[in-house]
């Protein structure tokens, strides 16, 4: 775990520093390749040394062979010298020796240091009688061989007979007395050819051949390339028979290095390119990394902003799972609206806190949102607050989708409109009350004006007639009419007075009244009428039902409905009246089997003042008007169901 973290940290460190990483890669590769090149250099060097020592050994062996042959030849030649110190058959033996030895260009006998015999004579005659022991340039070397009593090769030197060559001289003693030299001449060219020096591939190596000059003590070089090679690679062998030194020199000091130069350069380039490549490759991730970092910063910033917005918004916001309706996230305001805290809400779904009456609508919208037939919806709905009260919210729900369009969940924004709703409701109620009152007032003023005017207009007409009346009969008739008008005006006035008193009576005293008993009381009051019609009244109200009502109003209401039911009975049957109470709805139902009312035609006018529909001479059209006023004054209302010729049922709502 910690290793992994370290690794991530490390890789991040490298990823963000492409130049450093590139340099590291470059240096590492360079080191590796240097090591490889170093190894290779070592191998090449060893190869070269091996090759050089091979070559020089071969040449050395060839030299040895030539010198051995020369020694054998000089020895053979020396044996031709008889005891008197006279060579015998030199002319016969010398050609044989020269001809059988490719390395030997000439042989000579040098008694007492003076060249007397030489083969082949041609081209060499210039050397005859050359006294070498007294020639300054060659004297030293000649004396050296006498001293050592061994064959010694002088030169390379300029030959008396021309050309350059080496002269191998074997000192010959006769009777323990120095006789002279038996010598061979090897031309330089022959020596170089036979030793293999000439046949060397001079692209790689070259030879040098040297001898320390006995006169000067300096080392003298005899082959053409005489430049200083001390700093080059070389190998050397010493040939003591001539005090020679043979050098095999590598053509170029850098030849060896040049072999690894290509590898070095290529390696360096490879390392450099790799380093640059790594750096350039890593610069992109580094750029991306930087961009990611910048983006992340921005996202974080906007996240914080949105979080703040979400948390502190003055509206409730909730993220809701599409299928289940579970709350995924809610803000403080939402919690405040519904009264649950976040933990509680995260365990439940929106259905749990939705008012049952608004559930169907909300769920159906949610389904549509899920199907995709709508993208958002707005409804006003009720929530069940934790405390049990109902709160109103204006809800806007939108679908949240992934980039490919698949819906994930919904975002809901809820505005608490409880207060607004309450105010609206109050306003609506007071508007209804006011408009109802206004309607009633208008109706009432109409009634007042109409009913009063019908009387006053009659009075006006009568008074006109009275003025113009010529006979007493006429006058009496008018006065009796006037009395009638006066009486009906009085009745109208008292009716209106009653209505006004109901309407103006705001602070009515109410008390708990037993409904059953009051129905029985009304029956008693109406007993004469009931008996006359043979009506049956079924009081189905339980004995224990109590209603909070004004005594006078309850009496009046019951009397009115029961007497109406008896009065408007159907001529074909005896009136039967059922009175029942619904405890749940707090309603009293008075049902009769009377003549019924044409609701389509007269429903609206049923409770109007002075409205009658049946031509019954007893109906004045004031009872239901007053009854309705009384019910409304007690805060209730009235509903009517009726069918012509079947019967009517009135339902009175208690508050």
């Amino acid at each position: 775990m910690s290793f992994k973290r370290t690794w991530i940290k490390l890789s991040k460190w490298f990823l963000t520093r492409p130049n450093t990483t590139g340099t590291i890669v470059f240096l590492s590769l360079l080191l590796l390749l240097s090591f490889v090149v170093g190894l290779r250099y070592k191998v090449v060097k060893e190869n070269q040394q091996r090759e050089m020592s091979n070559i020089i050994n071969v040449v050395h062996q060839n030299f040895q062979q030539i010198l051995k042959n020369s020694y054998t030849t000089t020895l053979t030649l020396a044996m031709t010298i008889n005891d008197e110190g006279i060579p015998e058959d030199f002319d016969k033996i010398a050609p044989k020796l020269v001809n059988s030895n490719a390395s030997i260009d000439a042989v000579q006998l040098v008694p007492n240091g003076v060249i007397k015999y030489i083969y082949p004579y041609e081209n060499n005659e210039a050397a005859i009688n050359y006294d070498i022991l007294h020639a300054p340039t060659v004297k030293e070397e000649a004396l050296k061989s006498i001293k050592t009593k061994l064959i010694y090769f002088a030169g390379p030197l300029k030959l008396k007979q021309g050309g350059i060559g080496v002269v191998g001289r074997l000192p010959v003693y006769k009777n323990n007395k120095f006789w002279g030299f038996s010598a061979v001449i090897i031309k330089m060219n022959t020596l170089l050819e036979l030793s293999g020096i000439k046949s060397i591939d001079d692209s790689k190596y070259y030879f040098q051949f040297s001898k320390v000059n006995p006169d000067t003590g300096k080392e003298e070089f005899f082959l053409p390339k005489k430049e200083n090679f001390s700093k080059k690679f070389y190998q050397t062998v010493t040939i003591p028979d001539g005090d020679w030194k043979l050098y095999l020199i590598a053509q170029d000091k850098n030849g060896l290095i040049s072999q690894v130069t290509t590898s070095t350069v290529l390696g360096f380039l490879l390392a450099l390119i790799s380093g640059l490549w790594v750096a350039s490759i890593m610069k992109k991730p580094a750029k991306l990394q930087l961009q990611i970092y910048e983006q992340a910063k921005k996202i974080l910033h906007s996240e914080i902003e949105f979080k703040t917005l979400f948390e502190q918004a003055p509206v409730g916001i909730a993220r809701v799972e599409m299928d289940s309706g579970n709350f995924l996230a809610v803000n403080d305001e939402f919690c405040r609206i519904v009264g649950y805290d976040k933990k509680e809400l995260n365990k439940i779904n929106f259905q749990k806190i939705t008012h049952p009456d608004d559930m169907a609508q909300d769920v159906s919208y949610m389904e549509k949102l899920k199907e995709g037939s709508i993208d958002e919806f707005t409804i006003e709905k009720r929530y069940l607050h934790k405390t049990g009260k109902t709160v109103w919210g204006n809800l806007i729900v939108s679908r949240l989708s992934k980039s490919d369009g698949t819906p994930t969940n919904n975002i809901a924004i809820i505005e608490d409109i409880t207060e607004k709703k309450r105010a609206d409701e109050e306003l609506k109620q007071s508007f209804e009350i006011v408009s109802e009152q206004n309607k009633r007032l208008l109706n009432f003023s109409y009634i007042v004006s109409h009913n009063l005017r019908s009387h006053t207009s009659n009075i006006e007409t009568i008074s006109n007639f009275l003025e113009t009346a010529e006979t007493k009969d006429e006058r009496d008739e008018m006065i009796s009419l006037l009395k009638k008008v006066s009486a009906s005006l009085n009745e109208t006035m008292s009716n209106l007075n009653e209505v006004v008193s109901i309407r103006t009576n705001i602070n009515l005293t109410t008390e708990s009244l037993n409904l059953h008993d009051y129905i029985e009381k009304a029956k008693t009051v109406l007993s004469e009428q009931i008996t006359k019609k043979g009506a049956v009244i079924h009081n189905e109200v339980a004995h224990n039902i109590e209603v909070n009502y004004n005594t006078a109003y309850l009496e009046s209401i019951l009397l009115n409905f029961i007497s109406n039911a008896v009065r408007y009975s159907h001529p074909d049957r005896k009136p039967e009246i059922y009175i029942s109470y619904d405890e749940k709805a707090k309603t009293l139902k008075i049902k009769d089997n009377g003549i019924g009312i044409d609701m389509a035609k007269n429903g609206e006018k049923l409770f109007g003042m002075y409205k009658t529909f049946n031509g019954n001479p007893d109906s004045k059209g004031i009872g239901l008007f007053i009854t309705k006023s009384q019910i409304e004054a007690m805060g209730g209302r009235i509903e009517t169901e009726s069918e012509l010729n079947k019967g009517t049922s009135f339902t009175i709502y208690f508050k």
Partner: protein, 136 residues
């Protein structure tokens, strides 16, 4: 018997009595026929039509009446007597002075005019003259 008929439809018996007197005093050529409400009048007209009797020339119609009020009567007379009331001039005579009633009266093309009670001889004469002119 005079051959022209003026029909009063009103539930107020005192008014009925008084209007009869007024028309009589106006010395017109009209007879008076009275009905207590719209329904009674309508039924009478229907039976008259069956017997091929002619319709009244003038109807003075009250608005507020039990059983069938003036407006209902107007609706029914349009349906039941369509095409046969051309010669009948209908006037509203009501104790109502409400603006709404006057305006509502204008929605019925058969209604020739609107009078508020009380009615006197001059108004009766005005109506009868108007109708006579219309006939000429």
């Amino acid at each position: 018997m005079k051959n022209k008929v003026i029909c009063i439809i009103d539930d107020d018996p005192i008014y009925q009595l008084l209007i009869n007197k007024i028309i009589a005093m106006s010395e017109t050529e009209y007879d008076v026929v009275s009905f207590k409400n719209g329904k009674e009048a309508l039924e009478s007209f229907k039976s008259d039509l069956k017997e091929d009797k002619k319709m009244p020339e003038i109807i003075l119609l009250d608005i507020e009446m039990p059983i069938m009020d003036g407006w209902d009567f107007m609706k029914h007379i349009e349906k039941a007597l369509s095409g046969k009331t051309e010669k009948t001039a209908i006037y509203i005579v009501s104790s109502s002075i409400a603006y709404e009633d006057r305006e509502k009266a204008k929605t019925f093309p058969e209604i020739m005019g609107y009078f508020s009670k009380p009615i006197d001889t001059s108004k009766i004469l005005e109506i009868t003259k108007h109708v006579t002119k219309g006939e000429q």
